[in-house]
Symmetry: C2
Subunit: 345 residues, 2 copies
């Protein structure tokens, strides 16, 4: 036998071709701090000066990938990956600087790669972030047919004295929420299970359940509503930072409210959230009802319509809501016992 | 029906349990620049001062993962991931600072996670790198049973005037090689294809082919030889930087010699490599012969026994070889035409 790397399922030329398709869009993300071009062993970025702190974060987009694949909406997960990382960085008070991605699949499809990574580059450009590097891995046999996985890495920076965190939060602080655009990138395995059980019950396909217009969603289809892009909060973060002194920020991702909001609070304090402050979007109610998901489980898995929660001094609440039109006063920081730290009332 | 996130295949508690098992080993990687503890939305690291450049790199370990799984050697890929990133960073002249990892699987097995991420933390500690954060993703249905994927992300720093690269390389420079410890983390899909064809031809299993002692490997088994840890070159890099002025470094990974060595050379220049300067390790010859892999294809896929190539001034060759006992003078930088840029003679 005569074997080649290509014959073994890894085509280096295919990866290069795929990358060539997005190179121009990647170039457009270049910032003044970027040194040199792509293709080096490491991406180069001039270190921010002064007494600054680097904020590094890594994320994936979970099984939203599967939904994007079924619905042929690959651009969404590319943008999602960037936005998820951006929101994690700004939760520490940081401006995002640069981003790297990991794209892995069993057999690289250059057209899909172009759509995903192109959308990633465009999202970086919109947020003013340099797409500094990436790794494209072809791993025959490790992924389900047609599946690909993504990981994103982002580094941001914040002046040391502007670092946000639990230590700035005081009892009585006001909690401000900013609406989400849907599930963002979390809780999709539960959503998908609900959809596939529903398909089984109705004797139809997952695709049909996803495509059917829904009265509860004002005539929109479940699929279309589920693949809404993870909302980036960079503009709102900047506006709020201008208007008020932010104490801490929680990005509501995997683990929902109880899994994330306490990460922005010091020990001994919890959050009292007024459930009447906002209307849970129909998507969450519909999914929860279809799946018979208990109320607490819904809030422990999904963001339920609020993607970002900020703690600020109570006196700043009005200014915050003025600075960001769709910001909502959700509740306040209170003493908490040893159990759950988010209390809904 | 009543559904929970756990019922849908994602157990947040299982992920927390898995993380708890390695928390202490992660803590040991803490450096003075690290601010705060794990569990924040982003890892915090004091920005290096002065006129420094951040070097960011991302890598995976490819289908070596599958071999590690078959041979129950999960620690290897954890260390590999760190070492691969470290070598890419030092190829730009950078000292590594911090590392983040992405671990994705269909169903999280905490015992496997502990071995992989624990080994990652230990490798970080040995290299003096802070393990600053990570993402653990449970993605039901996306991965083959038992499979997991890893991506690593590393940031290093180098003083701007110490940045290595092609622009420092001159015609006539000497090329110094440092031996690899085996395939490192590249070309495993080809190696695995060779092994599985051999098993099919012999009417035996992949496992047996991997486990059989080999005369060509001095009695060692193919599997054991294949899963050798990717060698980190940090110590050698530091010793060489002390002894001589390094111009550029190539880390020989995916794409082998032709795919990597030119990345360290300016346009118009190529490498003349003396094939007699080192003996290709038996593993590469055995694999290549078993697979009937052509000579050029071997060098385009595998490192063939040399993991790192450094370009230095010719007058520094003797000092370089003195500084690193197993360094080898491989050849020199020469003018190159428009075709392949690595010439073996």
């Amino acid at each position: 036998m005569t074997l080649t790397y290509k014959g073994a399922g890894v085509d280096v030329g295919r990866a290069e071709d795929a990358l060539a398709r997005v190179r121009e869009r990647i170039r457009r993300t270049k910032r003044p701090e970027v040194i040199g071009d792509v293709g080096q062993f490491g991406g180069l970025f001039a270190s921010p000066g002064g007494d600054t702190v680097l904020v590094a974060t890594t994320d994936g987009v979970g099984t939203k990938l599967e939904l994007a694949r079924i619905l042929d909406r690959h651009e969404v997960v590319g943008a999602d990956l960037v936005h998820h990382c951006v929101n994690d960085a700004l939760a520490m008070g940081a401006e995002p600087l640069f981003f790297l991605d990991y794209y892995a699949t069993g057999r690289l499809e250059p057209a899909v790669f172009e759509r995903v990574v192109g959308a990633m580059a465009d999202a970086c450009a919109r947020c003013g972030i340099a797409l500094l590097g990436g790794e494209t891995a072809e791993l025959p046999g490790m992924y389900a047919d047609g599946a690909y996985d993504l990981a994103g890495f982002l580094v941001g920076a914040v002046a040391r004295d502007k670092l946000l965190g639990p230590e700035r939060v005081r009892e009585g602080d006001t909690l401000i929420g900013i609406p989400s655009s849907g599930l963002h990138t979390n809780g999709f395995s539960l959503a998908r299970e609900i959809v596939s059980r529903l398909a089984a019950t109705k004797g139809t396909t997952v695709r049909e359940v996803l495509a059917a217009p829904r009265q509860e969603l004002e005539g929109l289809a479940l699929g279309e509503t589920l693949v809404a892009t993870h909302r980036p909060y960079l503009r709102e973060f900047r506006a709020l930072r201008q208007a008020v002194e932010i104490h801490a920020i929680a990005h509501l991702t995997g683990g929902g409210w109880e899994g994330n909001l306490p990460r922005a609070l010091p020990p001994g304090l919890g959050a009292a959230i007024d459930r009447a402050a906002w209307t849970v979007p129909a998507l969450f109610t519909l999914l929860g009802d279809l799946g018979g998901v208990r109320e607490e489980e819904r809030f422990d898995t999904w963001n339920m319509g609020i993607g970002l929660v900020l703690a600020i001094a109570g006196r700043d609440a009005a200014a915050a809501v003025r600075a960001v039109p769709d910001a909502i006063a959700l509740g306040r920081v209170e003493r908490a016992g040893s159990g759950r730290r988010v209390r809904f009332a």
